[in-house]
Each structure stands twice: as structure tokens, then as C-alpha cells.
Symmetry: C2
Subunit: 142 residues, 2 copies
DNA sequence: CGTAAAATCTATAGTAACTATAGGTATAGG
DNA sequence: CCTATACCTATAGTTACTATAGATTTTACG
């Protein structure tokens, strides 16, 4: 019998976040003590770990919801899980590209900036000048 | 005299987003036609480009607000702008590390998964098993 | 057993950065 | 002049939490 605080500590999740996961139907509704406090079993801990691990891997809660549904029905084909992971990998690659470009530009901003007045500050100049950056207006992926 | 739509097209911003920037005080309040429509000057376009560029570089709207304030007072020292950029670089480096680890794990999931039934699907297995991942419970940076 | 601190409870609101919708008005082109 | 397109406001929704207030429960100690 685990309290919500124990679950939180073991998975690095905030207590509120666990309640939130229950509210949106990601975590099962747990039993309660006579006083109304939630008590969990080990399988709840496993489920929460699965969710948190998925989040760390960048999966959205919806993707995780799908993956959990798959994991709950072990007789299906795993093509779905595979396709979710592949979609994720594509997104990760795009984010990596953007971040690398960003890092380069930030470094340029910083190393170039040895001035004293804002008037000729490279940091601001780089922001003013769009010419060096990704030309397409793609989404600013979070 | 530019319409809001033109500004939007030229910067790859949604019209609503421009109005939102005005609402939160990032964009100046523009003049209006007799009919009540917003009309902009080139300096508004510049300001919006600056904002969007900052966003593409991963700066938060608050950071951009600070940078705009600096850019508006060209007599100050640029140490502030520099420190904002440096903070940003640190964050970017952290995100890069996480994303690289993530990519590795996603690839492992995908290449290992040649099964047919969910029962032995590597994708789900990897999610179940936390042992290979970042051990600390750090924030799932967006 | 009594008490006090720590943990838990619910409900609600706030965060970031937009995005979408509904219902109505303005403007530009033919 | 008419109509299609663009624009207007106001409000609500999105994602994934996080924070707060005020009340109740549980646990640990003496």
C-alpha cells in the first residue's frame, strides 16, 4: 500500500501531477482509506513510471495514452507502437536540427559581444537581422 | 501603411498572435483606420521580426521583452543582453543533451522492434524499463 | 491516549504561448 | 454597387502541468 507521496518520490513526479493524471484518465482510480486518502499498489507505480518515462522521451500525453492502451492488450500487432515511436523520432530529429542552429547563433552572439554600449551590441543586432537564420517560417517547436 | 495580414505574412506569424502581442504589450498599439482596422509602419514590422526571431532562437516572451527594452535605450551597457543570451545558451545545451539521449533510445526502440505481437514489443518494453535512461528526475524541458 | 507536525484532501485559478471560434464590420476589386 | 476577402472583438480552448487556500487525516512522539 503506497501513499501518493511515495509514488511521487519514487517517480520524481509532483503529487498534484499524479492527481491530474488520474483526472484525465491516464492513471487508474485508486482505492481510498476510510479517511479518503489514495492508496496505491505496485502496478500503479509501474504505470506511473511508464508515463513519466514516456514524457521524458518527449511523448505527448495522448501518445502515451495510446501506448498504454496497446500495452494493456498484449495480443495486438505492435505496428502501432512502432509507428508512434517513428513519428516521435522524426520530431526529435527536427528539434535537434533547430537547436543546433540556435546554439551556433547564440554562440556567435556571445563571442562577438565585447562592446560596452547597447548601441553596438551584437546580441541585439543578431536579433534584428533575420538573414542568417532558418528562412522558412516553421513552427517554433516547444 | 501595412495591414495586420501583411505583417503576418511577412513574418510568418498568425494574425491572432500579433493581436496577442499587442495585448500583452510586446507590440506597440498601432493606429487605426476610420473603420477601426489596424495599420502599421515599417518599424512595427521590424519589431515583430525581432520578436519572432527571438522566439525562433528559443527566447521566452519575457526574455524578449527585456531585450526590446534594452534595444529601446541604446545608451546602457549591453551586459544585460549578453547575460540573457548566455543563460539561453546554457538551456540550449541542456536540451541538446536530453534530445540526443532521447534520439538514441528511440532508435533502439525502433530497430529492436521486429516482433509482431505487442506482448514482446520492444517499444513498450523500453518504456517500461527506466534503467537505461537519465537517472535524475529533472524537468522534462519543453 | 493526546497532541502536533506532516501529509493528504478538494476546488479553483494561474502559467506560457498561443490557437480557434462565433458573430459581426470594413475594405478592395471588378 | 456588390461581393469576396480581410478584418474586428470577445471568449473559450489547448497542453501539461503548478500553485494556492483552507480543511481533514495520518503518523509519530511522549
Amino acid at each position: 500500500m503506497l501513499t501518493i507521496g511515495t509514488l511521487a518520490r519514487k517517480t520524481g513526479t509532483k503529487v498534484q501531477t499524479i492527481r491530474y493524471y488520474e483526472q484525465i484518465g491516464l492513471m487508474h482510480v485508486p482505492g481510498r482509506t476510510s479517511g479518503g486518502q489514495r492508496r496505491y499498489y505496485d502496478h500503479d507505480l509501474d504505470r506511473l513510471s511508464f508515463i513519466r518515462h514516456g514524457r521524458q522521451l518527449g511523448f505527448s500525453l495522448n501518445a502515451i495514452r495510446e501506448l498504454l492502451a496497446l500495452a494493456d492488450n498484449p495480443k495486438q500487432s505492435c505496428a502501432n507502437a512502432d509507428s508512434i515511436a517513428r513519428k516521435q523520432l522524426l520530431q526529435v530529429d527536427q528539434r535537434l536540427l533547430r537547436l543546433k542552429a540556435l546554439k551556433k547563433e547564440l554562440k556567435r552572439m556571445i563571442t562577438d559581444c565585447e562592446c560596452n554600449r547597447v548601441a553596438d551590441c551584437k546580441v541585439l543586432e543578431v536579433l534584428r537581422d533575420h538573414s542568417n537564420c532558418l528562412t522558412d517560417h516553421e513552427a517554433i517547436g516547444a
